[in-house]
Amino acid sequence: MTAVLQAQGLGKRYSRHWALTDCTLDIPAGRVVGLVGPNGAGKTTLLSLAVGMLAPTSGSIEVLGGRPGASPAQLAKVGFVAQGTPTYAGLSVTDHLRLGARLNPGWDDALARDRTGRLGLDPARRAGNLSGGQRAQLALTLGIAKRPELLILDEPVAALDPLARREFLQGLMEAVAEQELSVVLSSHLVADLERVCDYLIVLVDSRVRVAGEVEELLATHHRLTGPHRDPTRLPADQHLVAASHTDRQTTLIIRTDAPIHDPAWTVGQISLEDLVLAYMNKPTHTDTGRNDRPALEVQR
């Protein structure tokens, strides 16, 4: 299967500030990718590079085998729902669909009408008079009816109440089930994405901290608790992600493919949320300093 997004040493600088640094990714097609990180981590920058609204300062990025935004064919393959799921406040629902049909060669009008109908969106109503959830659904409809191979959504549910959030993700997943659609969506809350994504990228301070299949991430990360000890003396195949200590006890989050044999540790599973938080926290500065930094493991 071809990669949906490939980046090599990708970086973007705004005057003196690097919004994204040394980003290397290889995302297989057919996934629902969650891009998680705190506000200001560089999520929007990465997504804007992927749709071609920004050009890289360094490195390269390929989306579905082509350069983002390079040709009309490339533009038709990638759908983008920008932050805040924007719509035109003065245009009606019908106007939006008409606009979508004019601007997109692969427009699926039947799908768009069916979706707005099922959502109960009044065709004559202006977008400015819709609720936040309805506006988001309208923006999603435009993204889906374009029939892209890849749909990119920037923080689509951040502004929605829990019910609208659920309904939005239901609609999105339904589209994934019906069409052969890859999705990349960002959020600063992993809880929003936990059910829907099967591939996760954690972006912190303009760097990719970890990326991979959710299932593999969960299977290879463990919480170890035991008597106080120096975490730098872990076996070579155990990769330290986070460590915390009391005078008696040490708790570590490690990544390893190998079984953990040391009987001094109580080994526990961690949730996706804990995993993301462990990577989001600043690396622990123990005596060895930098050696403890989690490596930017991407694809194996």
Binding site: Q170, M173, E174, E194, R195, D198
Partner: protein
Amino acid sequence: MIEFHLDDRSGLSPYLQLVRQVRQALRLGLLRKGDQLPTVKDVVARLAINPNTVLKAYRELEHEGLVAARPGVGTFVTATLADASLAAHDPLRQELRRWLAKAHRAGLDEESIEALFMTTFRTAAQEDIA
């Protein structure tokens, strides 16, 4: 037809929760041979989960010989779990009750009993694998 639900605090992956809910329904006789499972699209639209999660659960059930997919139609139950093992439940439950009473007499409280059971259960399961 059954309806799936997800418990975010169960600690089980969503795919495993779906598999277990089908097995449970089969054990309790809620699902019988020939019954149809909800379509992937229905499950996805209801639970807002990744379609691959549902597909994986259905493949696992198919692998276990419990269901079969009919392309373009749906996934149907082909076996039952409400079988002979159901008859064994009663005597096992009685034995477990006696064991619990013993544990109480030995001074174990509920948490200690649960901890003892779970560690023994896990060790036994691991030894089976090894």
